[in-house]
């Protein structure tokens, strides 16, 4: 369903994604795990036509993403890591706009909107402006919106970020159901290893823009000789915090330059 070959994305000299290759089969739940700044979101943005790759090829449902972005966009749904709602519209209007964008027929749209808003406990607040929502409510609306149409592939970039355990449970139950009942392929990222262990059939671990391991949760544990996926993850990616090396140093330079200016 997804085929990625030698994919590279550079920002200046810095390679955020550095020649990665992998395949995701139809109907599979695939987890893409890695420390902060590893290149997960950058990869998802390339897969979903938001960023052009510096090099390499992506195929989605047999289509070349570079050559046929519009057709590719019909095939997937996405829940972004960063906010993507319109704060000046109500929750219901955000759902409505999404439904129109994805050609969901009016009746189905109304039914599903109600079902999803109820599922994520937003129905009572449907006519409130989104900018008045709490962080968790916004997050829940992002997810509800992402599930409004039934795509062939669902990209979930840290969908459970900032959500309470109840909602997380709801979400994964729903995603598993979509996967089993409708055969939706799922590509997800998360920092909660237990979630990946619970839902994913296969896992790729990415670090510094490179894939360092790929296999079922069981295989990753065996490969590293660890009991849990969390331990396996740490064994593969190390336990030091290597948060976005490139940018940290750039920020530091800026800070120093400022200090220097202030002194003079």
């Amino acid at each position: 369903m997804i085929r990625v070959e030698n994919l590279v994305r550079q920002f200046g000299d810095f390679a955020a994604v550095d020649r990665i290759s992998f395949e995701v089969g139809a109907g599979e739940i695939f987890a893409f795990l890695g420390p902060n700044g590893a290149g997960k979101t950058t990869t998802i943005k390339m897969l979903t036509t938001l960023l052009r790759p510096t090099a390499g090829a992506i195929e989605i449902d047999g289509l070349d993403v570079a050559r046929d972005p519009h057709e590719v966009r019909r095939r997937f749904g996405i829940v972004f890591q960063d906010p993507s709602l319109d704060g000046d519209m109500t929750a219901y209007e955000n759902m409505e706009l999404h439904g129109v964008f994805y050609h969901v027929p009016r009746k189905v749209r109304a039914e599903r909107t109600e079902r999803l808003l109820r599922l994520f406990e937003l129905w009572e607040r449907r006519n409130d402006l989104v900018k008045m929502f709490s962080g968790g409510m916004k997050r829940r609306l992002e997810i509800a919106r992402g599930l409004l149409h039934t795509p062939k592939i669902l990209f979930l970039d840290e969908p459970t970020l900032g959500l309470d355990p109840q909602t997380r449970n709801q979400l994964w139950t729903h995603v598993k159901h979509l996967n089993q009942a409708e055969g939706v392929t799922v590509f997800l990222t998360t920092h909660y290893m237990d979630e990946a262990d619970r839902v994913a059939q296969r896992i790729a671990i990415i670090d510094h823009g490179k894939i360092v391991a790929l296999g079922s949760p069981q295989e990753l544990k065996q490969q590293t000789g660890k009991e849990s996926l969390e331990e396996a993850f740490l064994a593969l990616t190390g336990s030091t915090i290597r948060d976005e090396t490139a940018n940290v140093s750039r920020d530091r330079l800026k800070t120093m330059a400022k200090l220097w200016e202030n002194r003079r």
């Binding site: 979903t48 938001l50 966009r73 993507s84």
Partner: protein
Amino acid sequence: MSAIYILWLRELRRYARSRAQVVASLGQPLLYLLALGFGLGPVFQRAGEGSYVQFVAPGVIAMTVLFSSVLSGMGLLWDRQFGFLKETLVAPVPRIQVMLGRTLGGATVACIQGLLVAVVAFVAGFRVVDLRTLPLALLFMGLIAALFSAMGTAIGSAIENIQSFQLTMNFLVMPVFFLSGALFPLDHLPRVLSVITRIDPLAYGVDGLRIALIGRAAFGLALDGAVLVAVALALLGTGSYLFSKIEV
């Protein structure tokens, strides 16, 4: 419902909800109309040009439409900042439709603003010379709105940060306004200025509005209409192209 329609509706809903902003954005045109209209009125009259309020009202209406449409076109920058842009860019909607929906929405809002200012001008003593040409005035407002909404979207697609926005306002939109003849007659200008005003698309909009509202012409209806349509189409094309190249 189509994507163009829902994006158009979005602009209108946002407009309807920002009442404070609507009132605030009418302050500036009002100031121009009243301060200049009554302040420069006597001088203008003595120079044998007639009533300045009559003369400047079409210019101030054009100004309102100009600012409002550029602003809404550049709302793109805010959508980028707040993340909503991503939602429109991954959707299976041709980007030209997204661009059209936004532009038409922005243009509609700009026309409403222009009409509000026209009402205020009426209260201040402005009178349309021939009511039968009113639809023509609406048409020119629409053309100005479409042209500058498209320009706003094009600029919003090309620049990434909100700081550049101020730059654009100061070095593009303000000159476009001041050199359009919105505030002064275009005849008897120094040669250089006269050439510059002729490459300012708003000059043709102001002229068209003036012909329709007070029957006073500098270029003529046909030329005004032709230039506005041509420039608007060119900017729509450029805007769609730049919009289709956006990465987030």
